[in-house]
Amino acid sequence: MANILLFTDQISQGYIILITGLVIVFSALLTLSLFFQHGLPVMLYLYKIITKGREKKIKDIKVEADKEFTGEIAAAISLALHMYLNEQHDNENAVLTIKQARKLYSPWSSKIYGIQNRLK
């Protein structure tokens, strides 16, 4: 590197660095963006296949297996679900807070002058 610097003009060296530097920065970020645009979805898909097996489509599910499953059973299940879900009560916040109400002092409501407090 030092030899090149000695024998060439600084400015022309600068232009070389300018062009190559920009090209490298662009290509680096371009590769990165291309990878995340196209490479990553493929990788994630492959990972899914490896870990869980191919996704089943609706036509892959055999009808024969569900011969026993009649409309009546379905109706019964959905009724049960409906009743169960309607019974739900929304959860309330169980925390009780006692809010201190600010009251202005008034002799009319003062405990000092209450009935229990007879004058002696």
């Binding site: 600068g14 300018l18 920009l22 680096a28 970020l29 371009l30």
Partner: protein
């Protein structure tokens, strides 16, 4: 209050009496010091007064008042302005206040030779400055930035990464400008990185290239430009809200400013975890010289996204980065000691730095417009986010957001602007690596 005044007056009396007592008991010691005390002993009364006077003048020689130069005073004023800007206008106070205080600390006049100044070997500041000179602090800051940054907007829309690359034209254009102004290659490289708008990267690169130690091919040493470069980079970063909006308004017309981008898709945790690993491998294989920066950046991000190391990520993004920022800010500020800092080079660097920010912003904006030529329908990007391609995380993204809100109060660009913003960090680190591999 009364007690305080009494205490203060007692202390001040002691302060004046001390050199006096000192001089009467062992006067030979005084002969060594700058104030000559080699008069012949006289009568008791007279010698008491003359010794007292000598002691006071001796004390005065050590004070800042005697040693102050105009440079010191100017720099102290600049430090106060920095602190004022940080407090009053909230321009990056986390940076400007430590740096401003550092500028004051570094410019308190002192007598050389007592291991006080930041450039004197063995002084405390010199040890703290070591982290700047050897480029230790920047990677630690990057670790924290990595642990803070959410790359999901970038993963959702990877093409925005190119905007981060486009803004790096500022780096290389400034590099060329510095060459034309007569800086030699390594110095010009270090100055150019100011255009990366990334303080830690600028310090890292200047500590490698323009550190005052390296030898040039013709046998001379490079200049020590770490101080001016760091100050320029940080002060322009703080001034992003001032520099960028006029350029945005100039280059992007009203209709384009109103473009609404469709919200980024949801990114799965798996993708977020894969990102730091893949990006680390790809970028460091391309530009290995940027390894300390990019390695720590993506390491920090992995700590954040892995979901198992929340404690480490939390430390990195809060305590660790705070500690390093404090040390970095104060030492970089203190490195502006007037006799070393106020030179023609520093002024040139400040000029170049401003130009480089402008060019970087323009590069990002133009490239965003250029990308829009190829994009259709709701895939179009708002050209304003190109300006966020200069790193300056997260200030430039905020500026973009604010600027878009001005032309359409329902256009929220912050998420979109974060994508070029973080890719700008990656881009400027890669650019630093390239310059380092060419010139290091």
């Amino acid at each position: 209050m009364k007690k305080l005044i009494i205490l203060f007056s007692v202390l001040s009396v002691l302060l004046f009496v001390r050199p006096l007592l000192f001089s009467t008991t062992n006067s030979p010691d005084f002969n060594n010091t700058s104030v000559a005390a080699n008069e012949t002993p006289q009568e008791d009364g007279e010698s008491f007064y003359s010794d007292a006077f000598k002691g006071i003048s001796q004390f005065y020689q050590y004070t800042g008042f005697a040693n102050a130069t105009w440079g010191n005073i100017i720099m102290i004023l600049i430090g106060i302005v920095f602190i004022y800007l940080g407090i009053k206008y909230d321009y990056e106070p986390l940076l400007l206040i430590p740096i401003g205080t550092g500028v004051i600390l570094g410019n308190i006049p002192f007598v050389p030779g007592n291991q006080t100044g930041i450039y004197e070997a063995g002084s405390v500041f010199n040890y703290l400055y070591f982290g700047v000179v050897k480029g230790i602090y920047p990677p630690l800051i990057f670790l924290g930035i990595g642990a803070m940054t959410d790359f999901s907007s970038l993963i959702a829309n990877p093409k925005l990464m190119l905007l981060g690359a486009a803004a790096q034209i500022g780096v290389f254009a400034t590099f060329l400008g510095a060459l034309y102004l007569g800086f030699n290659l390594p110095e010009a490289g270090a100055i150019g990185i100011i255009g990366g708008a990334d303080g830690p990267t600028a310090i890292f690169l200047s500590s490698k290239l323009a550190n005052g130690i390296n030898l040039l091919p013709d046998g001379t040493t490079v200049k020590n430009l770490i101080g001016p470069i760091a100050i320029a980079a940080y002060s322009y970063m703080a001034l992003v809200p001032v520099i960028q909006p006029p350029i945005m308004r100039l280059l992007v017309n009203k209709e384009d400013r109103k473009i609404k981008m469709k919200p980024p898709r949801a990114v799965s945790q798996k993708e977020k975890m894969i990102f730091p690993v893949v990006a680390l491998l790809l970028t460091t294989f391309i530009s290995p010289s940027a390894l300390p920066l990019l390695g720590m950046l993506f390491f920090g991000n992995l700590l954040k996204e892995s979901g198992r190391t929340e404690r480490l990520a939390d430390t990195a993004r809060t305590k660790l980065i705070d500690i390093v920022t404090i040390l970095l800010g104060v030492t970089v500020g203190a490195s502006t000691q007037a006799d070393i800092f106020i030179t023609k080079d520093s002024m040139l660097i400040f000029g170049l730095g401003a130009i480089s920010f402008v060019i970087a912003t323009m590069g990002g904006l133009f490239f965003a417009k250029f990308m829009n030529l190829f994009l259709k329908g709701d895939n179009k990007i708002n050209p304003l986010i190109g300006a966020a391609g200069v790193s300056a995380v997260p200030d430039s993204a905020r500026v973009v957001h604010a600027e878009a809100l001005k032309s359409d109060p329902s256009n929220y660009l912050l998420m979109h602007a974060m994508a070029p913003n973080v890719s700008g960090v990656i881009g400027s680190a890669i650019a630093a690596g390239i310059i380092l591999s060419f010139l290091g």
